[in-house]
Symmetry: C2
Subunit: 593 residues, 2 copies
C-alpha cells in the first residue's frame, strides 16, 4: 500500500527562505515564526500520514452507500473526522470569534495540501464546509453568522455548494431551481441539484446547503440567481436542531474516483431556505467561495501528484529490473533498481520539478489572498484573480499528467488496484473538471481576466517578472544562464501570445479563444519558471553563505535546472499554436465532426 | 450510454485511395477489391456496434469472478463470443489450412480496430489467441500446428502469453519458472506467472498457455529462457481433451479498467509442457508474437480514442451551454451547443486529427507486416521493426490523452460512470503499460532500433520522407504550404535529434536514453505528419478531379491542416529537450529523490 510523508521541510523552505513570510507586511504574518509554522506543519503531517492516509484505500474500496436516504461513509471516516475536529484543524484559518484560530490562509493551504495528498475524498468534507462557511462569513447577516459559523468552523455541521442541475453545469443562467418567497421572509426552495459533494453523509449533526435558485418573478437568466442557506435540519432560536427540512439525497453517483466522498443528487421539495446576501446577487456571493475553491482544487492537483510521486520514488528504488547502461550499479543484486534508467529519471524529474514549483506557486497565491483580505490590497486581489484560472487549470492538468507518470513507473503493478497508484490517477482526474472545467478556466483567463481593469493585472505580472529578472541578473553567471535567461525567453513567449490576442482577437474573438488552453498552459509554465528562479536564487544564496544543509540546496538547484531546461521550452510550442489563430480550429461545420 | 459507429468509410479511403492496396505488389492484396473489403468492414462494423459495444459497459460493471478455480466472464460475453466465432472473424487472417480465411493482416487490423473500439476487454480473448496461434504457426512442429491451430483459429480453444512473474516484468532474465525435462520429451513446468490476460475463463473448451521458463541446467539469465506450450487440458492423440493439466488460476486482479477481461495469476505446479521452437530460444519465439502484439496495442490506443471521440462529438452537439462569442447560433434554444465554443473545437480537432492519422499509420504499418511476411521483403521488415515501438508507444500515450480530452468534454458527466466516458479512459490506460511499458518502447527505439543493421532502416525512413516531399512539392501551393513544408521542418527536427544522439551518445549513452521518450514522440509526430501529407494529397487530387464527395475530402484537408499547424510543431519542443542531454536528467543521487 502507498505511504505519504508530508513535505514539511520543503514548505518551511518556501514560507521562510523564499517568501520570508514574517517580513511580509500582512497582518497576522508576524506570528508565523519558523518554529511556530514548523510545529503546526509537523503535527498536520503526522495526522496526514497516520490517520488520513491509511483510510485512503479504504474509502476507495468501500465507497459511500445510500440506504433509505441515509449515506454511510467508509469505515473509519467518522472516527478520523472526530480526530481532525478535535485537533482544531477545521477552523485553522477561521476567525476566533467563531471558534477558529485566525491563522492566515497560507498556513491553511499548506496544511490543506497534506490533508488532500493523504486523502482527498475525506478532506473534501472539510473543504466544502470551509467554502460554505467563507461565503456565510462574507455575505451573511450577523444572525446567520452567529447561527451557522461556530458549528461549521468546528465541522459539527458541514457545508455544501449547490450549483449544477442536470441540464446546466457551467451555464447557470439555465437554472430551474425556484425560490418562492414566504411571509416570514424565508423561501421555499424546489428543484434538483446534482454532483453535490458531501451532500449527505453520517459524520455531522447537520448539513448546511448553500443553494443557487431563482426567486419567482425575478430577472431571467443569470441575473435572477440568488443564494440560499438550506439546512438539512432547521435550526431553532436557541441553536438546537428542529424539524427535518424538505431536502433529501435521491441518489449517489458511481464515479471514476474519490469514492470516499458522497456525490449526491439533492432533491429540494419546498425546503425552507434563507437568502444569503442580496436578492439576485447569488453569483457574486458564490464567486466569493469560488476563487478560494479554485485555488484549493489547484492544490489538489499538486497534492495527488506529490503523493503519487513519493510512491513512484519508493518503487523506483526498490524494484530491480535491468542494468544501468553505463555499468552495473547494484553488483550484489540480480539487477539494478529502476531508478538507474534514464527514462525513469526523466519521469521522476518531471514529477519532482513540477510538484516543488507548484507548491511554491500555490503558497505564493495564498499569500496574495491573505494580502488582499488582511491588508485590503487591491493589486494583490487583482493579481490572484488573474492567476486563479492558471492555478486551477494548469496545476490540475499537469498534476493529473504527473499521477499518470507516477503510475507508469509501476508498470503492470500501477494498473492493478492493489498498489494504490490507480487511485491517485482516478482521484486526480476530478480536479480537472470540478469548480469549473479547465476549458472554462482557460476561457475565464483569456476572455475575462486578461482584460480586467484595462489589462492592469497582466501588465503588472509582466512588470513583476521583468523587474525580478533585472534585479537579479548579473550576480551569478550560473543563475543567469540556467534560470533567468530561460525565464526571460518564456515570459517573452507569453507576452507575444498576449500581443497576438490583442491584435487578432478584436476582429475575431475566436482567434483568442482558440488559443486559450495553450495560453493557460504557457502562463502556468512562466509562473513555475518564476518560482524556480526564486527558489534557485534562495538556494544559491544559502550555498554561498555556507549553509550546513548544502545537499538540500544543491538538490533544489538541480531540480530547478531540469525544469528550466526540459519543461519551460514548452512555451514556444504553445506560442506557435496560438499564432495559427482560429482558422484551423473553427474550419469545420458541426456536421463534419 | 455510449454508442459506436465503425469508421468504414475512412478505412476504405485509406485502403483504396491513399494506399491503393490492390496495386501493391503483395500476394493476396489483389483480392482486396473495394467492394470486397467494403462488405467485410460493413459486416464487422455491424457486429461491433450491435453485439460488442452493448456489452462493453456490462463487462466493466460486472467484471470477472473467480470461484473454486473457475472464472466467470460477464453476462453475454459467451454468447457474443460464439457469434464472433460463427462469423469466422477469429481466423480472418489465418491460413486456410487451419480453418482460417487467409486474408492479409491489414484487413485483420482494420477489423481489429472496430472490435477493440467497441469492446477492448472482450476482444482481448480473441487477440491473445491470435498472438499465441501466430507463435505456434511460426515456431511449432507440424504436429503441434495440427494439434492446436485448427482449434485456436476457430477460438474453440483460446491462447495466452505468460511472461511476467511477480519479481520480473521487463527483465525476463530474472525469471524463476522452471522446466524439468521428462523422458518422453515433454517438460514439467513449475512457477508462478502474473498479469496473464484471459488466463482462465468460461468461453473456451481449452486454454493453450504459451509459457516462458528456464530449462533446468540451461544457461543463466535471458539466454536460458525457452517457450512452452502448456494446455489447460492435455490433448489426446485423437485430438480429444484428456486430463486436467497442473495449471490453475490462483487469483484475478482488481484493475483500473478492462474489467471484462480476466487478468490472472497462473500457478504452474509440475504442469506438462511442450517445447515450442528451440531450447533456450524462447525470447526469439516470443518476439514473433511481440511485434504483431505491439502493433495491436498501438491499435487499441487509437481504438479507445476513436470510440471516446465519437461520443464526445455527440455530447458536444447535444449539450446546450452558453452562447457562441461570435453570435447566437441556436436562437430557438436556451443556449448554444457546446460545439460552438472554440476550446471544445480545439479539443475535438485534437482528437479527430489524431485518430484519422493514427488509423493511417496503423494500416500502413500492417501493410509493411504483410509485405515482410507475404513478399518476404527484408526492407519492409526492417522498417516495421523500427516503427513498432513508435506505433505502440506514441499511439497509446496520445490515444490515452485523447480519451481524457473526450471525457473532459462531458464535464462532470464524464467523471461519473453512468455515461461511459470514464471507462474509455480507464480501459485505454493499460495500453501504455502492457506489451512493454512505453518507456521500454522508447528504449527499444533509441537503444536498439536506431542502430539496427547499421542504422539502415532509419536512414531509409528519412529518405522516404525526403523523396515523398521532393516528388510532391511544387504541384499545389496550398499543399506545399500546409503540409509539405511543416512535414519537412518536423522531419528535420527528428534528424537533428538523431544526429544529437550519434554525436553525444557515444561518450555517454545516457545522452541518448534521456531523450528516448521525446524521440519516440517526435518520431510519432513525423509519421502522423507524413500520413496527413499523403491523405491531403489524395483528397486534393480527388477534389481536383471533381469528386462527387467533396465534403469528405474538404473535411479531410481541414482536419489535416489542423494537425500540421497545431500538433506537428511539438517536434521543436522535443528536440529542444533532447538537446539538453542527460545532465539535468541524471544530476541527482538516488537518495535525493
Amino acid at each position: 500500500m502507498p505511504s505519504y510523508t508530508a513535505p514539511t521541510k520543503d514548505m518551511q523552505f518556501l514560507l521562510h527562505d523564499v517568501f520570508k513570510i514574517t517580513e511580509a507586511d500582512i497582518p497576522g504574518y508576524e506570528e508565523l515564526e519558523r518554529d511556530f509554522t514548523g510545529a503546526i506543519l509537523e503535527e498536520a503531517g503526522k495526522i496526514s500520514s497516520e490517520v488520513l492516509q491509511p483510510l485512503n484505500a479504504v474509502g476507495d474500496t468501500e465507497g459511500c452507500t445510500l440506504e433509505n436516504g441515509v449515506v454511510r461513509t467508509p469505515t473509519g471516516f467518522k472516527a478520523a473526522f472526530e480526530q481532525v475536529k478535535e485537533g482544531g484543524w477545521t477552523g485553522l484559518d477561521m476567525p476566533e470569534a467563531y471558534g477558529g484560530q485566525n491563522m492566515p490562509y497560507v498556513l491553511g493551504t499548506a496544511v490543506g495540501e497534506m490533508f488532500s495528498a493523504s486523502n482527498q475524498a475525506f478532506t473534501m468534507y472539510q473543504g466544502l464546509t470551509h467554502g460554505a462557511a467563507s461565503a456565510i462569513l462574507a455575505h451573511g447577516s450577523e444572525a446567520q453568522k452567529d447561527t451557522y459559523l461556530p458549528k461549521m468552523v468546528a465541522c459539527d455541521w458541514t457545508g455544501t455548494m449547490n450549483l449544477t442541475e442536470p441540464h446546466c453545469g457551467t451555464d447557470l443562467g439555465l437554472m430551474r431551481t425556484r425560490a418562492e418567497p414566504q411571509e416570514d421572509g424565508s423561501y421555499k426552495i424546489t428543484g434538483q441539484k446534482i454532483f453535490i459533494s458531501a451532500g449527505e453523509h453520517d459524520m455531522a449533526d447537520n448539513i448546511i446547503h448553500l443553494v443557487l435558485a431563482k426567486i419567482t418573478g425575478g430577472p431571467e437568466g443569470i441575473k435572477g440567481v440568488s443564494l440560499f442557506i438550506v439546512p438539512k435540519f432547521l435550526v431553532n432560536e436557541d441553536g438546537s436542531l428542529g424539524a427535518r427540512n424538505g431536502v433529501a439525497c435521491g441518489n449517489i453517483e458511481e464515479k471514476m474516483g474519490i469514492h470516499g466522498n458522497s456525490t449526491c443528487v439533492m432533491n429540494y421539495d419546498g425546503a425552507t431556505g434563507y437568502l444569503l446576501g442580496q436578492e439576485h446577487k447569488g453569483m457574486r456571493a458564490m464567486f466569493t467561495m469560488m476563487n478560494e475553491a479554485r485555488l484549493g482544487v489547484g492544490m489538489q492537483g499538486l497534492a495527488q501528484a506529490e503523493a503519487a510521486y513519493q510512491n513512484a520514488v519508493v518503487y523506483a528504488k526498490d524494484r530491480l529490473q535491468g542494468r544501468a547502461v553505463t555499468g552495473v550499479e547494484n553488483p550484489d543484486g540480480p539487477a539494478d533498481p529502476l531508478i538507474v534508467h534514464p527514462d525513469i529519471r526523466r519521469s521522476l524529474m518531471d514529477q519532482k520539478s513540477f510538484t516543488e514549483a507548484a507548491r511554491a506557486f500555490i503558497l505564493w497565491g495564498a499569500t496574495m489572498i491573505d494580502r488582499a483580505h488582511r491588508a485590503d490590497d487591491k493589486d494583490a486581489d487583482g493579481l490572484i484573480s488573474l492567476l486563479t484560472p492558471v492555478i486551477k487549470g494548469f496545476l490540475t492538468d499537469k498534476g493529473y499528467d504527473m499521477t499518470v507518470q507516477a503510475q507508469q513507473v509501476y508498470g503492470g503493478h500501477g494498473y492493478i488496484e492493489e498498489w494504490g497508484m490507480s487511485q491517485f490517477t482516478r482521484d486526480a482526474r476530478i480536479a480537472m473538471i470540478y469548480e469549473g472545467a479547465n476549458g472554462v478556466q482557460a476561457l475565464d483567463l483569456v476572455g475575462r481576466k486578461l482584460a480586467q481593469d484595462g489589462g492592469k493585472h497582466v501588465m503588472a505580472f509582466f512588470d513583476m517578472v521583468k523587474s525580478y529578472i533585472k534585479e537579479n541578473a548579473g550576480q551569478n553567471e550560473a543563475l543567469d544562464r540556467d534560470f533567468l535567461e530561460p525565464l526571460k525567453a518564456a515570459s517573452k513567449d507569453l507576452q507575444a501570445a498576449g500581443m497576438y490576442f490583442m491584435q487578432n482577437g478584436m476582429k475575431n474573438p475566436n482567434n483568442a479563444l482558440a488559443g486559450s488552453n495553450d495560453f493557460m498552459h504557457m502562463f502556468g509554465h512562466v509562473c513555475l519558471g518564476l518560482m524556480w528562479a526564486r527558489m534557485a536564487k534562495t538556494s544559491a544564496d544559502a550555498l554561498a553563505a555556507g549553509t550546513d544543509d548544502a545537499a538540500f540546496h544543491e538538490t533544489k538547484l538541480a531540480t530547478g535546472r531540469y525544469y528550466m531546461a526540459r519543461q519551460l521550452p514548452a512555451t514556444a510550442m504553445h506560442l506557435a499554436r496560438i499564432q495559427t489563430g482560429a482558422d484551423t480550429v473553427m474550419a469545420l461545420d458541426a456536421a463534419s465532426f
